[in-house]
Symmetry: C2
Subunit: 140 residues, 2 copies
Amino acid sequence: MLNTQTILQQLSDQGFKKTKVRELLIGELLKLKKPLDAQALQDFLSDQKLAVNKTTVYRELQFLLERGIIVEINFGDNKRRYEIAGLAHHHHLICNNCQGVEDVFVDQDLVKLEKKIAKEKNFAIHSHSLEFFGLCRHCL
Amino acid sequence: MLNTQTILQQLSDQGFKKTKVRELLIGELLKLKKPLDAQALQDFLSDQKLAVNKTTVYRELQFLLERGIIVEINFGDNKRRYEIAGLAHHHHLICNNCQGVEDVFVDQDLVKLEKKIAKEKNFAIHSHSLEFFGLCRHCL
DNA sequence: AATAATACGCAACTCAATTGCGTTTGTCAA
DNA sequence: TTGACAAACGCAATTGAGTTGCGTATTATT
Ligand SMILES: [Mn+2]
Ligand SMILES: [Mn+2]
Ligand SMILES: [Zn+2]
Ligand SMILES: [Zn+2]
């Protein structure tokens, strides 16, 4: 269920603790529903008057990733970003000017494309990454 | 023109020197026509009995990138790869097992998709990154 | 309150990539 | 052929994202 308390409870049932860091990070990722990097999340915690060490942020992200609560997204700038899991499969429009991120759903098209490629190339596609770069409506 | 001597001559005309490192790197990227990282290229030079400092490799890659002779490719593993520029626009099938790379051409499909998205989202798409991950025919 | 596992802070470390700076080399022209 | 100068190079130090070891603190359970 896409709700902070439900996720916290599920983790608690598995023997993991309900911590303020965990609660705030999940809450923020659920709310913004867009990819955020470790630095942005640490800054967010700081704004919430919960200054924590970067190691704690990285470990928590690793923890949430391993349990499928978040997914890793790469914009190709050698910096890992994380998004809440469970959203409908989608991709991103990334503005080169304001760094804004918009979601875009192209699932149907991609599924067909993947099948075609898999058949032609005899390659079992497990996943793909597709991101678009350019200028958003505001920056045009 | 996709030929080492031609590229070297063009650079020379712009006041840059013809060096052994430059010649070998361009030659290798032209020959393999696939994305290679800095380490792989340094190892290649070493094999050719031309051991150079990694700084030289990074600087040369930066140099070739800025002049549009190579392009940067990202597989999402936080490691930059470079491919010779001027190849027909294409994407990659990356094997999660043997790390092999195959080219795949999906241009027509993507052009249509881009136009549709640009219109719907009012977003000017300048570029995109699309890579497929899975298992190649040998690793299946 | 005692216990044990989870979570955390801190310092050191890894790995890719970059920078400063002094030295070498390629090129061109005297 | 030789100077001169910019381009190229080596080396050490540095950056920046991310990780690891280890000792301490916190949470949950009894
Ligand atoms: Mn998204
Ligand atoms: Mn390619
Ligand atoms: Zn914008
Ligand atoms: Zn393979």
